[in-house]
Symmetry: C2
Subunit: 553 residues, 2 copies
Amino acid sequence: MSDSSLFMRHQETLKRAVQASKDRDYWTAYPEMPSPRIYGETAQKDGERAFKARLNKKFELGQGLEDKEVGAEKSPYGFDLGIRYSASNLDELIDDVEDCRMDWAKASPETRAGICLEILDRINKRSFEIAFSVMHTTGQAFMMAFQAGGPHAQDRGLEALAYAFDDMKRTAPTSLWTKPQGKRDPIVMEKKFNIVPRGIGLVVGCSTFPTWNSYPGLFANLVTGNAVIMKPHPMAILPAAITVEIARDVLGEEGFDKNIVTLLADSVDAPITKEIALRSEVKLIDFTGSSFFGNWLEENARQALVYTEKAGVNCVVIDSTDNFRGMTSNLAFTLSLYSGQMCTTPQNIFIPEGGIETDEGHKSFDEVAGGIAFAMEKLLGDDERAGHILGAIQSEATLERLEKISAGDNVIAASRKIESEIFKGAIIRTPVLLKAVDEKSYNEELFGPISFFVATKNTDASLDTVMASVINNGAISFGIYSTSDEVLDDAEDMACRAGVAVSFNLCGGVYVNQTAAFSDFHATGANPAANAALSDTAYVSNRYRIVQSRRHK
Amino acid sequence: MSDSSLFMRHQETLKRAVQASKDRDYWTAYPEMPSPRIYGETAQKDGERAFKARLNKKFELGQGLEDKEVGAEKSPYGFDLGIRYSASNLDELIDDVEDCRMDWAKASPETRAGICLEILDRINKRSFEIAFSVMHTTGQAFMMAFQAGGPHAQDRGLEALAYAFDDMKRTAPTSLWTKPQGKRDPIVMEKKFNIVPRGIGLVVGCSTFPTWNSYPGLFANLVTGNAVIMKPHPMAILPAAITVEIARDVLGEEGFDKNIVTLLADSVDAPITKEIALRSEVKLIDFTGSSFFGNWLEENARQALVYTEKAGVNCVVIDSTDNFRGMTSNLAFTLSLYSGQMCTTPQNIFIPEGGIETDEGHKSFDEVAGGIAFAMEKLLGDDERAGHILGAIQSEATLERLEKISAGDNVIAASRKIESEIFKGAIIRTPVLLKAVDEKSYNEELFGPISFFVATKNTDASLDTVMASVINNGAISFGIYSTSDEVLDDAEDMACRAGVAVSFNLCGGVYVNQTAAFSDFHATGANPAANAALSDTAYVSNRYRIVQSRRHK
């Protein structure tokens, strides 16, 4: 199939994606329901089988060293994946990519977009296989692994692709410049505006959202003509490897060198990111992970443009509500989803020390905190149901943090072990809810199912504290509950000053830790938690440059 | 006049500017001819009178310290300007700007665009006054000071404004997000997408193009809601001061605090740029000047986004021509214009050691070099005419460099003093043309009227050398002369790899050192000479962020 026919086949999707990114209304290209009617009657079984066929084998990608393997992934649900990946020699890998990347650089935006859209389409068709691979590396429950690891990640990839394509097409590829010269003949010049990519883009994945956080960088880089090296977290390689495999297949079929997209797998013991991140050929870095390492990249990888999503301390302010039950249920679910292992999960909940007004009358500070604890108890009362919401704890570090903090005497709701037969071997915990004792204890990110109730003088004081927290510690999400329009306006004003997105009075089926592609921007790029947003023009427009030529006609 | 009526008044200009920035065809908003029919019968005289009225006085802007003055501008045409400006206390200045900038941040893009367009319109009407102020700070000849300092600078300001406005308007200000829920009612959310500026933008001007290189940053910052502090070069304050005065007038009339745009004047002896560039409130820096200081800003002003245009070594490759006379005349003018004091003036001209084929038969290396020298002699033979092309030498350092390099025994055409009665007191020199002896001598920027002829084995070798030079030393312009399409294709390929714009066979009224707003990108942002281009989406899109709010409907 010629590349232009791939573009023809998928261009309607691209066109709608570009329009959706402008309108910010509801739109999705990839259905989020793992329904047999959409994905096929046997899709789930086929996906599970494909996943299982990967286990305890070498994952062959046709790249990397023959004689050196890495791979030590463990499912948080209690088994070793046993998958080995070829390690790479950095010099060889970069040489291979440099050798082939100019062909990709010279392809037209349409050719590249067509191939990227085909890659996304095939990824979508493999959503179940990817879902199981996400589930058994991150610990996400199946439904979340399917949605966030599958269609939602694909939508985020398409969104970045759409932004980049739209920006490239903003500039006419050629022009005829005709400058009047009074009575003399005009000066006429033919001009050509070449889209020139930066070089190699390195996409550094994280252990909790290996596809969702990586697809925007992958597709923004690819469509703008850059080659991509995917460097997944050593404990979540498989979802990236499947993605790379699909990309390489399509590239090969379309007559391009497969090494335009490569996998760089490493191990926890011998991490390789620092070394490759400083290579002169690496011109773009997309990173999701710790603030420590993200800041290190920003400081040191000066030869590259560095897009980071790091840690933050997310906050919720409770001022008042006309739906106490809705509020507490919503927050209980928010804090429980994937055991708080999302970069958007709220950590600190600010409540006036004198309590709040609600539709159920005045509630004291303790009653509000207790209401959320009660809603959580109800939500997670059944272990099997709880497991499907909580998923498993991804890392030892998170479990240790949870256990350590649970030992204090300020626990409002204790963390509980989930031990259901169907989750045998998995490490599953309900969140711990704590009463904040001093600022120091909650003023840094405590990743995982750990949240604090913080008593403040009043809502103004809550907002002041949150503003300082966002400016100093960063944040990706912020929620407020109030029946007063004035308070909500103040909160929006504060959010704009501090640079954090705000959700008002979420009491139903939308949660502060969730963002929808094409409508919600993920992170603002305006506070220390992230220097970029997914996605906007700034995220894509510097991944290529325009190099023009001109001549007299 | 209400702000919305300013937008109404100027929106057609903005609309056409946005379209022109996409089409890249010929378009201009501000006529480049200093014609009485366009600017008014008395415009030139009025402008000169207004300029003269500034001399030997305090320039009152209503900001800065009452009791401390700076100002030591000297016209390169031989007199002191004698203008004093209020110095500023940095803490007070930044406090004043911080105090008022949120009002501007909260104004709508349309309000801000209307005000910016009105400022540009008034600047355009004062083009003659600004031309004289540019002429007598930079040493540019009057015609160039008018065009590059006036309408062309205004076009570049409008272009950046258009990019920024278009990018802000790409995102709907609000949306209704309606997510289907099967048979249940859809989830409906109202979303608002707030444009939030970064903070204070510092625009650091240069001594040779105080308006042209500053207007893009000024207007890109302003329209996206940032406050702007203009920090002109201490020897070219006046054009910035007039610009700031106009901006403050319009802001004041429209009910905004004038301190949204301020002037920060300093002196050569006590430069202030380093100090303010590191202030946490300064979130954007636009800089034009030396590589040394530009690199320092990029390395150190980490709290800000830094857009730099620095030094480069521009090259021309001569392979062959079917218009020897046109080529030599074009290059002679290019090298002479403003005595080579443009960041786009070619420094190194590569010619095969065996000579080239031309419409006048084979020409040896020496004949090609001699042809350019001859054309220059003819162009600059008459001192009065020469002065109108050359302008005056802006700085002592440039003059010293010229004199030092002219002492070598490799001079092909010596630099000559221009001494015409009408340029009495001005330091005017014709360019020196040298034969390159070793790579070291021409492999760094030698700012001013200094150019080298470099002998190479052949054109392939010329292109290889230029590619290495662009990658290592940076370049803003690159020209090639060849009758072979294959050679031109190779040159374009090289230009794309190295990241420099290329002009083919310029033999007429377009010169390699000139770029036209809305059509030619100035710098690529892809080599060490500049990390940004004027203007493109990447130049504007990160100057603001989007902070959204959402609530259930």
